[in-house]
């Protein structure tokens, strides 16, 4: 309860400016709304503004998408199960663990007051959007980069982590950038922005596509790929599993992560943003970051931007 109270105050602060200017709190209420795209903005990470007043756990507004989830008794979340430290199935505990997993648990906690009321669905990069569109998952928290093309098909929450694309190579490799990998086999998951970036930034590199991030590491270890290129946070997880690899170079493509929600569930998108505002403000985000990704250096939570 204490956390919720603090979260509410923090959210109020974060939204203070917007609320004052908008003066249209009713439009931000949690009542179900017609499908509408966010107003045009040059900021691709801008998402629907969070509600001024978040409903209490277990008391979701009637008719809202959250009420449906509450009625069902569990939140269905698409996650990766093979990205070490981010979203992975720990065979020692047989539990999903990682940064994304803990972020998703915060949404369940906000709906039910119980972070365990989640049904996990393992998703590949290519399956994320179809699963959302088919209504098979309520949301996807899976190193999901916000971009304009995807926003045509689904909603994204505000940014909850700012990642960037890098490369992973063998420990004795001299390559430090994608430019050094011309003619070499570079692996990335099928359907990911990383794969598109490789082709766009170095057409001479030979793209090798797989279903999952771990599959790339397998190909790398079996010497069927010379390098892996994807988001730094994912590469850090892969490198942690293979001491003969290293992550090198500078970030060459910003990858803002958002939580994917179906296009029609605007009220739920706003609710998720409300949860993110809360956890960024009350220190939960920092605690989760430090636990799972702290080895990458200190980082502050990214700020969300909104449209009405």
């Amino acid at each position: 309860m204490k956390i919720t109270h603090f979260g509410a105050r923090a959210r109020t602060l974060a939204l203070g400016m917007a609320v004052a200017i908008a003066a249209c709190a009713s439009s931000l209420s949690m009542a179900p709304q017609a499908v509408a795209a966010p107003q045009s903005t040059s900021d691709v990470t801008a998402s629907y503004r969070p509600p001024a007043n978040m409903p209490r756990p277990g008391a979701m507004p009637a008719g809202s998408y959250m009420a449906k989830i509450q009625e069902r008794g569990r939140l269905i979340v698409g996650v990766s199960q093979d990205v070490f430290s981010v979203g992975y199935l720990n065979p020692l505990t047989n539990e999903l663990e990682g940064f994304d997993i803990d972020i998703a648990k915060q949404v369940a906690k906000a709906i039910f007051g119980d972070e365990k009321r989640i049904q996990w669905v393992s998703v590949t990069s290519a399956a994320r959007i179809p699963l959302l569109k088919e209504g098979k998952v309520d949301m996807v928290v899976s190193t999901f980069t916000i971009n304009a093309a995807r926003k045509q098909e689904i909603n994204f929450s505000e940014i909850y982590y700012m990642s960037g694309q890098k490369i992973l190579v063998g420990r004795d490799s001299t390559a430090v950038s994608l430019d050094d990998l011309s003619g070499q086999r570079v692996c990335a998951p099928r359907g990911s922005t990383s794969a598109k970036n490789i082709v766009a930034l170095n057409p001479k590199a030979k793209l090798v596509e797989t279903a999952t991030y771990s599959d790339c590491l397998v190909l790398f270890q079996l010497r069927k790929a010379d390098a892996v290129s994807t988001d730094d946070v994912i590469l850090a997880g892969l490198a942690a599993q293979d001491p003969f690899s290293k992550v090198v170079g500078k970030t060459f493509s910003p990858e803002p992560y958002g939580i994917g929600v179906a296009k029609e569930n605007v009220d739920f998108t706003r609710f998720v943003n409300g949860v993110l505002v809360d956890i960024k403000a009350n220190g939960t985000w920092k605690r989760i970051y430090d636990r799972w990704l702290g080895q990458m250096g200190p980082q502050d939570p990214p700020r969300g931007t909104y449209v009405d």
Binding site: R74, Q81, D82, P91, I118, W120, A127, L217, V218, Q241
Partner: protein, 411 residues
């Protein structure tokens, strides 16, 4: 030679001498055709029963063992380091050893040339790679690294996309060979029966004509030795023709029933393991295993088309449905527990029951096949030597019957 024969036919003793010679000649031809037909026939049955069919059984057993191996590997992976994985590990070790034996046997028994040899060698190589990937999956899994699941997925995929086509190519070669052996046995068997019939009939006709000649010209109703020789030829011809025809019928039955049934149950047993692997892979995929669910549905459909719906299969599918309901209802932990036999052993027992049932049916079908083959073999038991002895007996009896008459005329 021709003039000698013409001279012989001018006098009665000459005619008798000519008949004796002809009877001996035909008896030898009868013996040769019978002896060689029985030998060739026995050899053809032997080829089918002890070469072509065992090769097919070996290929199918390799398929079963591969799928058994993969089922144990996926089940062990699902159990992680828990005690529930111990049984699967033991099963994996046993299946790996059995697969090694089968592959070695197949490699040392290449019946159909280069294609079969290459496929077996490639398969042995792939199995080595597979074992390596499973061990990597296992090690990473025990370290808590998710890359282990990727190794397992890759290993399982290699079973289905790389190894199965190799097994199928060997199986296809063997089945083609069996069909060709069987067809050539069938057509040659007709020819052999015809040869025995023709030589036997020719001998009977000559014996009959000689008998009639003696009756008319020497005022004897019957020449007993010739009559005995005729009876021997008639009996042996009838017995051997009937025996070879019955042998063909037994082989046809063995092919159409025993073998087809053995093949079906071998296939069914492999498919059962494949279905179980799909269940484990479905659970490992955590809600994103639609591909394994669809794959399992297709296999169950193929299985029920082939063998119907035995109670053991129904029992297993009921347990599988329970596991899926739990998983889809957000109770993955319970679903995995049930699949591994934690708390309740029902799901594990239901699969063991299915495997035992299919194994028993396989044993029965295989038993029926080899019983039919043994019966087919029995139809020509010692017949080759009987032909040789019969030829000697016919020649001796002809001599005994005709020589006193020839001497009577000369005296």
């Amino acid at each position: 030679m021709i003039s000698t024969i013409k001279n012989l036919r001018r006098t009665t003793p000459g005619k008798l001498q000519f008949s004796l010679g002809l009877i001996v000649l035909l008896a030898v031809a009868f013996a040769i055709s019978g002896f060689s037909s029985v030998l060739a026939s026995r050899d053809a049955v032997d080829k089918i029963a002890r070469k072509a069919v065992p090769s097919i059984v070996t290929a199918q057993t390799i398929r079963v063992k591969l799928l058994e191996l993969d089922e144990a590997a996926t089940q062990e992976f699902l159990a992680g380091g828990s005690q529930a994985g111990l049984g699967s590990r033991q099963k994996y070790e046993a299946a790996r050893e059995a697969l090694g034996v089968e592959l070695t046997q197949a490699a040392s028994n290449i019946s159909f040339g280069k294609d079969e040899r290459q496929a077996i060698e490639k398969l042995m190589e792939k199995v080595q790679e597979y074992n390596g990937m499973v061990e990597s999956a296992r090690s990473y899994n025990r370290l808590g690294y998710p890359v282990g699941a990727a190794y397992l997925r890759l290993a399982s995929t290699s079973v289905r996309t790389e190894m199965m086509p190799l097994v199928e190519s060997v199986d296809k070669l063997n089945v083609t060979q069996l069909d060709s052996e069987y067809e050539s046995y069938k057509s040659a068997s007709g020819l052999r029966i015809g040869m025995i019939g023709i030589t036997g009939l020719a001998l009977i006709v000559v014996l009959f004509i000689t008998q009639r000649f003696i009756s008319r010209n020497m005022r004897r109703t019957f020449n007993l030795p010739l009559l005995t020789a005729t009876a021997i030829v008639v009996a042996l011809s009838a017995y051997s023709v009937t025996g070879l025809m019955m042998q063909r019928s037994e082989v046809t039955q063995a092919r159409a029933q025993g073998f087809v049934s053995t093949y079906t149950w071998l296939n069914a047993r492999g498919t059962a393991y494949d279905i179980k692997s799909d269940q484990s892979l479905y659970l490992i995929a955590m809600g994103n295993g639609a591909v394994y669910e669809d794959s399992m549905k297709a296999k169950v459909e193929a299985l029920t088309t082939a063998v119907g719906s035995p109670a053991s299969l129904k029992g297993y599918l009921e347990q599988d449905a329970r596991i899926r309901v739990l998983d889809k209802g957000g109770k993955r932990e319970q679903a995995v527990g049930l699949a591994l036999g934690v708390g309740s052993n029902d799901a594990v027992a239901s699969f063991s029951g299915l495997d035992s049932d299919f194994s028993a049916r396989l044993q029965q079908a295989s038993g029926e096949f080899y019983t039919s083959i043994a019966q087919a073999d029995g139809k020509t038991w010692l017949l080759d030597w009987v032909f040789a002895l019969a030829a000697l007996a016919v020649a001796a009896l002809a001599y005994l019957g005709l020589n006193p008459r020839i001497r009577e005329y000369r005296a």
